[in-house]
């Protein structure tokens, strides 16, 4: 890669590393694995940089690469296990802002734990739609599927998430 290309890649990597790691963490629930996924995704982007550098949807391309990197990691039989059974908070976090009701804040703590119980592509669609705030069309582009699939996966994912959170709430209550 030529030096100007490499420099533009560095700028991109620095600018997007934190965002990619956060998304990876929401996918997998482990900050160490998230960091590895982010690094792997950026290395893959580096290899394609001269081809994709001018792409207007470069940020979404990086999301696609990250998502595939994570899905690939999950398919490996020796993959590291995800932290999907972290402890459910049993009491409210007093440090939260006063604007939200305690019940609502507690529910929010459960959202990520609930998310980690969902199948990977449902997890991904919820992260892309509700964390990255992507449109249906953008999410479809990132996931490499149709808009109809995004809509159906979102609906199913939300239903499953609600059910998962209810189950976690039930476990704490009992």
């Amino acid at each position: 890669m030529r030096q100007p290309n490499e420099e533009s890649f560095r700028v991109f990597a620095v600018e997007h590393a934190a965002r990619l790691r956060r998304s990876a963490y929401l996918f997998c629930g482990d900050w160490h694995l998230a960091e590895d996924l982010m690094q792997s995704a950026l290395i893959k982007i580096y290899r394609s940089w001269t081809r994709v550098e001018k792409d207007e949807s470069l940020a979404n391309y990086s999301r696609t690469v990250l998502l595939r990197t994570w899905l690939d990691e999950k398919r490996r039989p020796w993959r590291r296990s995800e932290q999907s059974s972290a402890e459910v908070p049993e009491r409210l976090d007093e440090a939260r802002g006063p604007a939200d009701s305690p019940d609502r804040l507690w529910a929010r703590d459960l959202v990520h734990q609930g998310l980690l119980r969902l199948p990977p592509r449902q997890r991904a669609v919820l992260v892309l739609r509700y964390f990255d705030d992507l449109s249906v069309a953008e999410t479809a582009e990132v996931m490499g599927c149709s808009e109809g699939t995004v809509k159906s996966q979102t609906a199913r994912g939300l239903d499953a998430l609600r059910s998962s959170v209810s189950d976690l709430v039930g476990r704490v209550a009992s």
Binding site: A13, W78, L110, V111, Y130, F131
Partner: protein, 270 residues
């Protein structure tokens, strides 16, 4: 729970993120190293093929003529060499091929196709692997066995068998056209001990990777990257994928030739 609660929950989940000690220089150095290694491996593969090639004898039972080439020094080959195509493999694989038309399939279509391929594998695997016994072909699926979603890019199934008293597995993964566009980027640089193009069949490159995992675990994967942008991977393990307490064989009982026969089989595909 509203959509706003989901947004808030996801935002809150990353509030306490650990510090990011990101070093772009180190990342670029690693990336450069991987690019160099990949080019070197590809060049080595091309040279090997150019110097000495031997065709893989394809199964008579499948009624197909051999068309691809492979390196003559495949250590695990048991198939006799037949004709010797002399075309050398390209130093760099162009993948995905230009003009790939993505194929979209519903979950139901994928399920049906998976069942067809499982049935086919039950007949074919014992013919391709005559020296093994107790072949069990699992159900195809995606994220889980039997689990399919619309537009899923690939499906896979495990095939278990016995050789020398131990159980082993083969993973058969099949990508639809357009679903494997970044496959080569994913596969080759991450292979821990080798990634080599060993020829091509029907205009599609054949790639072999080897990996060491779990201490004594070994995986040999053969990929047929097909001209229509689809792909098939036959991954052979020296252990059984499912089950507790893995026992590792000293070698993988399946040869690269046998993997090639399955990977290039036109009956396997989406």
């Amino acid at each position: 729970m509203s959509e706003e609660d989901v947004r808030g929950g996801l935002r809150d989940a990353v509030v306490e993120e650990p510090p990011l000690n990101f070093d772009p220089d180190a990342l670029v150095a690693t990336a450069r190293q991987q690019v160099r290694r990949r080019r070197a491996l590809m060049a080595a593969g091309a040279a090997t093929v150019a110097v000495a090639v031997a065709a893989v004898a394809l199964p008579v039972a499948l009624g197909r003529a051999p068309a691809h080439t492979m390196a003559a020094d495949q250590p695990t080959s048991t198939a006799p060499a037949t004709t010797a195509p002399t075309t050398s493999a390209p130093a760099r694989i162009e993948w995905p091929p230009p003009g790939v038309q993505p194929v979209h399939r519903t979950a139901e279509q994928l399920r049906t196709r998976g069942q067809e391929m499982s049935t086919y594998l039950r007949q074919t695997v014992p013919a391709v692997l005559p020296d093994v016994s107790d072949v069990e072909v699992g159900e195809f699926g995606g994220e889980a066995v039997g689990d399919f979603s619309d537009d899923q890019p690939s499906v896979n199934a495990a095939v278990d068998y016995t050789a020398g008293g131990l159980r082993y597995s083969i993973d058969v993964q099949v990508w639809a056209p357009g679903g494997a566009n970044d496959l080569l980027d994913v596969v080759c640089p991450e292979s821990t001990s080798g990634c080599q193009q060993i020829g091509e069949q029907d205009g599609g490159p054949l790639v072999v990777t080897t990996e060491s995992v779990l201490g004594d675990g070994k995986i040999s994967s053969v990929y047929h990257l097909r001209k229509d942008g689809s792909a098939v991977r036959i991954a052979a393990y020296n252990y059984q994928l499912s089950g507790e307490g893995k026992q590792f064989g000293t070698t993988i009982p399946v040869t690269v030739d046998q993997q090639l026969r399955l990977a290039t089989d036109p009956e396997l595909g989406l």
